[in-house]
Subunit: 336 residues, 2 copies
């Protein structure tokens, strides 16, 4: 959070593989959120231009002069790549020019973000979506100096904070721990090409795949005593717990905050299974480590993106009043 008391409004962008969201806030909180399906054709700067357009729509609806918006915090899917000193993204689910992108209507191999946004905004800060989420949990939630945010949904992504510092890494890719290898026997294939990494084994796409039921059904059946479904849930929780144990022993973590659709299917069922994998190992490192649901809810990446650029003076008010809980979202129909 920068110390910029002169700012009246700041913007956030949340760039995902299927959906993009723009939001404008003032000291009182976020004022309006506009979403649209992420565009997948045109020139490679389409993504950043769509973000600027969504911010402009926000301004128009709020009757704010777009020139007033000088700072934007961006939470984006990754991975990141830096070209000519500016951060862009190379996400397999958007870039048709990458080996895995055959079914996409473009030949993109790199999507510039920072360079395009800097032509319009004086201050641009880009972070991986889970890193941005942890900025949000740190600023407005209860995450302590040594904490982890993890989203367990289709993908599994992490934000990592050590000694009060949220980790970026050489080009902003710290936290890609979903691609940590855990099994030497699993042949579950991850989108990144690994076999036996965390996301490949228990990301939403592969979790309980052998049961051929929707994930929601697996969780419901497990709750109702179906042994096969319960076995799949226990297996997934065990891998997830082993990954959290690994991160705890690597980073000496104090608290872990979990969000994402898979976790939310049945946090009450998953949490004790995950805890067990941590608690039964190396007491000097795991003693007292907490595992809990993320506190900022589904807007965590939008709110986290604001935390990247908003004046520190706004933070206390947001922390106390949780103004995003009353935020209105307007969904735009897809662009032509």
């Amino acid at each position: 959070m920068a110390e910029k008391p002169a700012l009246q409004h700041v913007a956030s962008l949340d760039i995902g593989g299927t959906k993009m969201a723009a939001c404008i806030a003032d000291a009182s909180g976020p004022l309006l959120r506009v979403t649209q399906s992420t565009m997948k054709s045109g020139s490679p700067d389409t993504i950043a231009q769509q973000g600027i357009q969504l911010i402009d729509v926000c301004c128009q609806k709020l009757q704010i002069d777009p020139a007033q918006i000088q700072a934007v915090g961006v939470s984006s899917c990754g991975p990141f790549e830096v070209r000519d000193g500016a951060t862009g993204i190379v996400p397999p689910n958007l870039c048709g020019g990458l080996p895995s992108g055959d079914d996409l209507p473009n030949d993109w191999t790199f999507l510039p973000l920072e360079s395009v946004l800097r032509e319009r905004f004086a201050e641009v800060r880009v972070a991986n979506d889970c890193v941005a989420a942890l900025h949000g949990e740190r600023a407005f939630g209860t995450a302590p100096a040594n904490s982890i945010y993890v989203t367990w949904s289709t993908g599994i992504g992490f934000g990592l904070c050590v000694d009060g510092h949220i980790l970026n890494g050489k080009v902003g890719n710290a936290g890609h721990a979903g691609h940590m290898l855990l099994s030497d026997t699993s042949d579950a294939l991850c989108g990144c090409g690994n076999r036996g990494d965390l996301e490949g084994m228990i990301g939403g796409r592969n979790f309980g795949k052998h049961l051929r039921r929707p994930l929601e059904e697996i969780f419901r059946d497990a709750q109702q005593g179906d042994a096969a479904a319960m076995g799949a849930v226990q297996d997934a929780a065990r891998w997830f717990g082993r990954a959290l144990y690994n991160l705890t022993t690597i980073l000496d973590t104090e608290a872990i905050f979990v969000g994402g659709s898979v976790w939310r299917y049945n946090e009450a069922l998953l949490a004790p299974l995950v805890r067990k994998e941590i608690d039964t190992r190396f007491p000097a490192l795991t003693h007292g480590v907490s595992v809990q649901g993320a506190t900022l809810g589904e807007l965590v990446t939008d709110i986290g993106a604001f935390a990247l650029v908003m004046p520190q003076a706004w933070t206390i008010r947001w922390h106390t009043q949780r103004p995003w809980e009353k935020l209105h979202t307007l969904h735009l129909t897809d662009a032509a």
Copy 2:
């Protein structure tokens, strides 16, 4: 490194399970190093008191007034525990009161360091030995802002630097990545109780155990074409490489520096095997990551301990002149 131009001399302590070393330095470099076997009986503050005595011996030999020594940097085996706000250690190989310590001549369960040393020195900074080593590699070597130091010897320990910040964690235990779980099938038992963690599988004690040959022999036989020995080396390098890949994807690392007795047996044989495990995965994260031998040699933890407390003004001179290369070590016979 603190900005303390008034300091004339500083001390370092390197506390290991079998050996302790004390050293005194001035602006020109370390002046003398005194080592002794680590004491294993008496009261729990024996370890810290032995450290103070070794510093006093250094002073006496150098004809320096002990009262002049006001700052000490400590690199120590772990894990750490904080009691009453002060860091101590709970190492299984020194504490006879811990479950694994049956063959030790004491009932220690916690060894105070910081509290005892603070009674004698105005400034005390304690770090895990591999964390201290990375402070040394950063200050006097070539380690960049996103780098890892790893010792591969009997144990496997790490120092982790992200965004120019060397990670400590909630009580200074960041970097215990040797206890990262990697295999779901190995029954190799680690001293920490894990089965299938990195240290349990390929630490010096278990590396190639089925061959029933000394490790030095395994490396020699592998070099001479013995298939079984080569298989053991390849297997170990593969696990080591997978661990380094995991850390790279978790932390977005740029450079990895490897030291330790196992690595030094045959760096030339190990390095390409390790590299392969990194290079064949997730290019956006692993592209350009370097793996190389540590640059400070066997004194890396002593030199790293100095980096914790020495005036920054000394750093450039040490960096250029590498004064520790001419350092004299005096080994004391064991205390009664």
